[in-house]
Protein backbone atom coordinates (compact mmCIF):
# COMPACT_ATOMS: atom_id res chain seq x y z
CA UNK A 1 0.00 0.00 0.00
CA UNK A 2 2.87 2.24 0.79
CA UNK A 3 4.31 1.54 -2.62
CA UNK A 4 1.70 3.81 -4.16
CA UNK A 5 2.89 5.79 -7.15
CA UNK A 6 3.85 9.35 -6.49
CA UNK A 7 1.66 10.70 -9.29
CA UNK A 8 -1.43 10.12 -7.19
CA UNK A 9 -2.60 6.81 -8.54
CA UNK A 10 -4.86 5.04 -6.14
CA UNK A 11 -4.77 1.40 -7.07
CA UNK A 12 -5.62 -0.49 -3.97
CA UNK A 13 -6.32 -4.09 -3.45
CA UNK A 14 -9.73 -3.92 -1.80
CA UNK A 15 -9.47 -7.35 -0.27
CA UNK A 16 -6.14 -6.40 1.31
CA UNK A 17 -7.68 -3.37 2.94
CA UNK A 18 -10.58 -5.48 4.12
CA UNK A 19 -8.23 -8.07 5.57
CA UNK A 20 -6.16 -5.44 7.30
CA UNK A 21 -9.25 -3.77 8.73
CA UNK A 22 -10.44 -7.11 10.01
CA UNK A 23 -7.05 -7.82 11.54
CA UNK A 24 -6.99 -4.48 13.29
CA UNK A 25 -10.57 -4.95 14.49
CA UNK A 26 -9.76 -8.28 16.01
CA UNK A 27 -6.47 -7.44 17.64
CA UNK A 28 -5.98 -3.75 18.16
CA UNK A 29 -7.31 -2.72 21.52
CA UNK A 30 -7.44 0.93 20.54
CA UNK A 31 -9.54 0.05 17.52
CA UNK A 32 -11.82 -2.03 19.73
CA UNK A 33 -12.55 1.04 21.78
CA UNK A 34 -13.40 3.06 18.71
CA UNK A 35 -15.60 0.22 17.51
CA UNK A 36 -17.48 0.45 20.77
CA UNK A 37 -18.25 4.01 19.84
CA UNK A 38 -19.52 2.78 16.48
CA UNK A 39 -21.86 0.36 18.21
CA UNK A 40 -23.13 3.24 20.29
CA UNK A 41 -23.72 5.36 17.21
CA UNK A 42 -25.57 2.56 15.49
CA UNK A 43 -27.88 2.25 18.47
CA UNK A 44 -28.80 5.89 17.89
CA UNK A 45 -27.87 7.02 21.35
CA UNK A 46 -28.75 10.67 21.63
CA UNK A 47 -26.89 11.53 24.78
CA UNK A 48 -23.43 12.97 24.70
CA UNK A 49 -20.47 10.68 24.95
CA UNK A 50 -16.72 10.87 24.79
CA UNK A 51 -13.76 8.57 24.72
CA UNK A 52 -11.05 8.99 27.28
CA UNK A 53 -7.61 7.81 26.23
CA UNK A 54 -5.83 6.85 29.41
CA UNK A 55 -2.32 7.97 29.89
CA UNK A 56 -1.07 5.96 32.82
CA UNK A 57 -2.42 2.64 33.81
CA UNK A 58 -2.51 1.45 37.36
CA UNK A 59 -1.05 -1.92 36.56
CA UNK A 60 2.40 -2.63 35.34
CA UNK A 61 1.86 -3.53 31.68
CA UNK A 62 4.63 -6.11 31.80
CA UNK A 63 3.36 -7.92 34.86
CA UNK A 64 -0.19 -8.15 33.62
CA UNK A 65 0.51 -8.82 30.05
CA UNK A 66 -2.96 -9.86 28.92
CA UNK A 67 -4.24 -7.06 26.78
CA UNK A 68 -7.33 -5.61 28.33
CA UNK A 69 -9.47 -3.36 26.18
CA UNK A 70 -10.58 -1.26 29.10
CA UNK A 71 -7.08 -0.40 30.08
CA UNK A 72 -6.25 1.95 27.25
CA UNK A 73 -9.42 3.92 26.89
CA UNK A 74 -12.77 4.39 28.58
CA UNK A 75 -16.01 5.24 26.87
CA UNK A 76 -18.07 7.68 28.90
CA UNK A 77 -21.73 8.15 28.11
CA UNK A 78 -23.85 10.92 29.58
CA UNK A 79 -22.78 14.22 30.95
CA UNK A 80 -19.29 14.81 29.64
CA UNK A 81 -18.80 18.43 30.52
CA UNK A 82 -17.62 18.01 34.06
CA UNK A 83 -14.95 15.42 33.61
CA UNK A 84 -11.62 16.10 35.16
CA UNK A 85 -9.28 14.43 32.78
CA UNK A 86 -5.95 15.58 34.17
CA UNK A 87 -3.42 14.36 31.64
CA UNK A 88 -5.58 11.94 29.69
CA UNK A 89 -6.92 12.79 26.26
CA UNK A 90 -10.64 13.26 25.85
CA UNK A 91 -12.02 12.64 22.39
CA UNK A 92 -15.36 14.43 22.21
CA UNK A 93 -18.38 13.32 20.25
CA UNK A 94 -18.31 16.30 17.95
CA UNK A 95 -15.98 19.22 18.06
CA UNK A 96 -14.45 21.51 15.52
CA UNK A 97 -10.96 21.56 16.92
CA UNK A 98 -8.33 18.89 17.01
CA UNK A 99 -6.97 17.70 20.30
CA UNK A 100 -3.24 17.54 20.45
CA UNK A 101 -1.56 14.52 21.96
CA UNK A 102 1.42 15.07 24.17
CA UNK A 103 4.46 13.14 23.01
CA UNK A 104 4.77 11.29 26.30
CA UNK A 105 1.23 9.91 26.04
CA UNK A 106 1.35 6.12 26.12
CA UNK A 107 -0.86 5.78 23.05
CA UNK A 108 0.95 8.44 21.03
CA UNK A 109 2.83 6.01 18.81
CA UNK A 110 0.31 3.13 18.56
CA UNK A 111 -2.45 5.55 17.57
CA UNK A 112 -0.46 6.74 14.60
CA UNK A 113 1.15 3.47 13.54
CA UNK A 114 -1.57 0.89 13.85
CA UNK A 115 0.07 -1.29 11.22
CA UNK A 116 3.44 -1.39 12.98
CA UNK A 117 1.79 -2.05 16.32
CA UNK A 118 -1.19 -4.20 15.35
CA UNK A 119 -2.10 -5.01 18.93
CA UNK A 120 -1.96 -1.39 20.00
CA UNK A 121 1.14 -2.04 22.05
CA UNK A 122 2.09 0.62 24.51
CA UNK A 123 4.37 3.39 23.52
CA UNK A 124 6.61 5.32 25.83
CA UNK A 125 5.48 5.88 29.36
CA UNK A 126 7.12 8.14 31.89
CA UNK A 127 7.20 5.57 34.64
CA UNK A 128 9.42 2.85 33.26
CA UNK A 129 12.16 2.13 35.76
CA UNK A 130 15.71 1.42 34.70
CA UNK A 131 17.12 -2.01 35.39
CA UNK A 132 18.27 -2.86 38.90
CA UNK A 133 21.80 -3.36 37.73
CA UNK A 134 21.90 0.16 36.38
CA UNK A 135 20.19 1.51 39.43
CA UNK A 136 23.04 0.26 41.61
CA UNK A 137 25.42 2.48 39.71
CA UNK A 138 26.10 5.48 41.98
CA UNK A 139 26.85 7.75 39.02
CA UNK A 140 23.37 7.30 37.76
CA UNK A 141 20.97 10.03 38.84
CA UNK A 142 18.05 9.32 36.55
CA UNK A 143 15.99 6.31 37.61
CA UNK A 144 13.46 6.28 34.77
CA UNK A 145 13.98 5.18 31.20
CA UNK A 146 14.37 8.16 28.88
CA UNK A 147 12.24 8.51 25.78
CA UNK A 148 15.26 8.10 23.50
CA UNK A 149 16.30 4.91 25.25
CA UNK A 150 12.81 3.51 24.93
CA UNK A 151 12.57 4.24 21.22
CA UNK A 152 16.01 2.79 20.57
CA UNK A 153 15.03 -0.30 22.54
CA UNK A 154 11.85 -0.70 20.53
CA UNK A 155 13.58 -0.55 17.15
CA UNK A 156 15.93 -3.46 17.93
CA UNK A 157 15.36 -6.71 16.13
CA UNK A 158 14.70 -9.57 18.48
CA UNK A 159 13.82 -13.21 18.13
CA UNK A 160 10.52 -12.96 20.00
CA UNK A 161 9.17 -10.37 17.61
CA UNK A 162 8.76 -10.31 13.88
CA UNK A 163 10.34 -6.87 13.72
CA UNK A 164 7.49 -4.86 12.33
CA UNK A 165 9.29 -1.58 12.79
CA UNK A 166 12.41 -2.28 10.76
CA UNK A 167 10.52 -4.26 8.12
CA UNK A 168 8.02 -1.54 7.35
CA UNK A 169 10.20 0.03 4.64
CA UNK A 170 9.14 3.61 3.88
CA UNK A 171 6.93 3.71 6.92
CA UNK A 172 10.06 3.02 8.96
CA UNK A 173 11.50 6.26 7.65
CA UNK A 174 8.43 8.12 8.74
CA UNK A 175 8.53 6.32 12.06
CA UNK A 176 12.15 7.26 12.64
CA UNK A 177 11.60 10.91 11.81
CA UNK A 178 8.46 11.01 13.86
CA UNK A 179 10.00 9.41 16.92
CA UNK A 180 12.97 11.72 16.70
CA UNK A 181 10.66 14.71 16.76
CA UNK A 182 9.07 13.07 19.79
CA UNK A 183 12.43 13.02 21.52
CA UNK A 184 13.16 16.57 20.55
CA UNK A 185 9.83 17.98 21.63
CA UNK A 186 10.13 16.10 24.90
CA UNK A 187 13.54 17.69 25.46
CA UNK A 188 12.12 21.09 24.61
CA UNK A 189 9.24 20.73 27.02
CA UNK A 190 11.67 19.59 29.71
CA UNK A 191 13.78 22.68 29.14
CA UNK A 192 10.69 24.84 29.18
CA UNK A 193 9.63 23.36 32.49
CA UNK A 194 13.06 23.64 34.04
CA UNK A 195 14.05 27.16 33.10
CA UNK A 196 14.96 27.99 36.68
CA UNK A 197 17.66 25.39 36.90
CA UNK A 198 19.06 26.35 33.51
CA UNK A 199 19.09 30.07 34.15
CA UNK A 200 21.34 29.59 37.16
CA UNK A 201 24.04 28.66 34.74
CA UNK A 202 26.81 30.95 33.70
CA UNK A 203 25.13 30.71 30.32
CA UNK A 204 23.08 33.72 31.19
CA UNK A 205 25.98 36.04 30.54
CA UNK A 206 26.74 34.25 27.32
CA UNK A 207 23.17 34.74 26.23
CA UNK A 208 23.53 38.48 26.57
CA UNK A 209 26.62 38.48 24.43
CA UNK A 210 25.09 36.31 21.76
CA UNK A 211 21.87 38.21 21.43
CA UNK A 212 23.23 41.71 21.65
CA UNK A 213 21.97 43.72 18.75
CA UNK A 214 18.86 41.66 18.26
CA UNK A 215 15.70 43.31 17.10
CA UNK A 216 12.88 44.11 19.46
CA UNK A 217 10.66 41.21 18.46
CA UNK A 218 12.58 38.79 20.65
CA UNK A 219 11.66 40.73 23.75
CA UNK A 220 7.98 40.12 23.27
CA UNK A 221 6.73 37.36 25.52
CA UNK A 222 8.59 35.06 27.82
CA UNK A 223 12.01 34.06 26.68
CA UNK A 224 12.82 30.39 26.93
CA UNK A 225 16.52 29.72 27.10
CA UNK A 226 17.88 26.68 25.35
CA UNK A 227 21.02 25.36 27.04
CA UNK A 228 24.11 24.37 25.09
CA UNK A 229 23.30 20.72 25.63
CA UNK A 230 20.30 20.97 23.30
CA UNK A 231 21.47 19.62 19.96
CA UNK A 232 20.80 22.05 17.17
CA UNK A 233 20.04 24.96 19.44
CA UNK A 234 21.64 28.36 19.13
CA UNK A 235 24.01 27.89 22.10
CA UNK A 236 24.96 24.45 20.89
CA UNK A 237 25.88 25.84 17.48
CA UNK A 238 27.68 28.76 19.05
CA UNK A 239 29.71 26.49 21.33
CA UNK A 240 30.63 24.18 18.49
CA UNK A 241 31.63 27.12 16.33
CA UNK A 242 33.87 28.44 19.09
CA UNK A 243 35.36 24.98 19.56
CA UNK A 244 36.08 24.74 15.86
CA UNK A 245 37.79 28.12 15.97
CA UNK A 246 39.90 26.98 18.90
CA UNK A 247 40.90 23.81 17.06
CA UNK A 248 41.91 25.83 14.04
CA UNK A 249 43.93 28.19 16.18
CA UNK A 250 45.82 25.36 17.83
CA UNK A 251 46.46 23.12 14.83
CA UNK A 252 46.10 25.44 11.86
CA UNK A 253 43.34 25.58 9.28
CA UNK A 254 42.26 22.32 7.65
CA UNK A 255 43.10 21.63 4.02
CA UNK A 256 40.52 18.98 3.41
CA UNK A 257 37.07 18.47 4.80
CA UNK A 258 36.12 14.83 4.43
CA UNK A 259 32.75 13.34 5.19
CA UNK A 260 32.40 9.58 5.21
CA UNK A 261 29.15 7.69 5.07
CA UNK A 262 28.96 3.97 5.32
CA UNK A 263 26.62 1.35 3.96
CA UNK A 264 26.60 -1.60 6.28
CA UNK A 265 25.66 -3.92 3.44
Amino acid sequence: MVACKSDGEKNFDDTLIQDLTQMIDENNRLAKNFRKVRDLVEQNVTSDFCLRLLRNRSKDPRMHNILEVDEVAVLIVGDTDNIKYERDIIVRKESSHLERLHETHTSFIPLQYSLIFPYGEDGFSENIKISEKEEANPDRTRTKVAIREFIAFRIQERSVEFGNIVNSKILFQQYSVDTYTMIESQRLSYIRANQDTIRCDILHGLQDAVTRGETNTSFIGQRVILPGSFTGGMRYMFNNCQDAMAVCKRYGYPNLFITITCNSN
Partner: protein, 73 residues
Protein backbone atom coordinates in the same frame (compact mmCIF):
# COMPACT_ATOMS: atom_id res chain seq x y z
CA UNK B 1 -4.90 4.77 6.22
CA UNK B 2 -5.44 2.98 9.51
CA UNK B 3 -4.06 5.53 11.90
CA UNK B 4 -6.21 7.24 14.50
CA UNK B 5 -4.33 10.48 14.66
CA UNK B 6 -3.27 13.06 12.17
CA UNK B 7 0.40 13.82 11.90
CA UNK B 8 1.24 17.47 11.45
CA UNK B 9 4.40 18.95 10.09
CA UNK B 10 5.51 20.39 6.79
CA UNK B 11 6.65 17.58 4.59
CA UNK B 12 9.14 17.93 1.80
CA UNK B 13 7.29 16.33 -1.10
CA UNK B 14 9.39 17.17 -4.11
CA UNK B 15 12.41 15.16 -3.01
CA UNK B 16 11.04 11.74 -3.98
CA UNK B 17 11.21 12.18 -7.73
CA UNK B 18 12.39 8.70 -8.55
CA UNK B 19 16.12 9.33 -8.36
CA UNK B 20 17.79 7.77 -5.38
CA UNK B 21 16.25 6.05 -2.43
CA UNK B 22 13.06 7.52 -0.97
CA UNK B 23 13.51 10.06 1.77
CA UNK B 24 11.25 11.43 4.41
CA UNK B 25 11.90 15.03 5.34
CA UNK B 26 9.80 17.28 7.49
CA UNK B 27 10.42 20.79 8.70
CA UNK B 28 8.93 22.84 11.48
CA UNK B 29 7.10 21.50 14.45
CA UNK B 30 5.65 18.04 14.32
CA UNK B 31 2.67 16.90 16.33
CA UNK B 32 -0.08 14.31 16.43
CA UNK B 33 -3.65 15.44 16.81
CA UNK B 34 -6.92 13.66 17.18
CA UNK B 35 -10.30 15.03 16.14
CA UNK B 36 -13.75 14.21 17.45
CA UNK B 37 -15.49 10.86 17.46
CA UNK B 38 -17.96 11.87 14.78
CA UNK B 39 -17.31 14.14 11.80
CA UNK B 40 -18.94 17.53 11.65
CA UNK B 41 -21.97 18.09 9.47
CA UNK B 42 -21.06 17.79 5.83
CA UNK B 43 -17.55 16.55 6.41
CA UNK B 44 -16.20 13.20 5.43
CA UNK B 45 -14.88 10.91 8.16
CA UNK B 46 -11.15 11.05 8.74
CA UNK B 47 -8.65 9.13 10.82
CA UNK B 48 -10.31 7.80 14.00
CA UNK B 49 -13.73 8.71 12.62
CA UNK B 50 -13.28 6.00 10.01
CA UNK B 51 -13.66 3.52 12.83
CA UNK B 52 -16.83 5.05 14.20
CA UNK B 53 -18.84 6.72 11.44
CA UNK B 54 -20.52 5.34 8.32
CA UNK B 55 -18.87 1.98 8.70
CA UNK B 56 -21.02 0.35 6.02
CA UNK B 57 -18.98 2.30 3.49
CA UNK B 58 -15.78 1.95 5.43
CA UNK B 59 -13.69 0.61 2.59
CA UNK B 60 -14.45 3.42 0.17
CA UNK B 61 -14.07 5.98 2.95
CA UNK B 62 -10.65 4.66 3.78
CA UNK B 63 -9.51 4.66 0.18
CA UNK B 64 -10.79 8.17 -0.47
CA UNK B 65 -8.97 9.42 2.59
CA UNK B 66 -5.64 8.07 1.51
CA UNK B 67 -3.25 10.90 0.88
CA UNK B 68 -4.69 13.15 3.55
CA UNK B 69 -2.24 11.74 6.00
CA UNK B 70 1.40 12.41 5.74
CA UNK B 71 2.13 8.89 4.53
CA UNK B 72 1.94 9.58 0.85
CA UNK B 73 5.23 9.04 -0.88
Amino acid sequence: MFSFTSMGGKMERCINDGGGPPQFIITGQNYHRIGSLLPQQGHRPKFAQLYTYDTSNELSNRVSNFGLGILYL
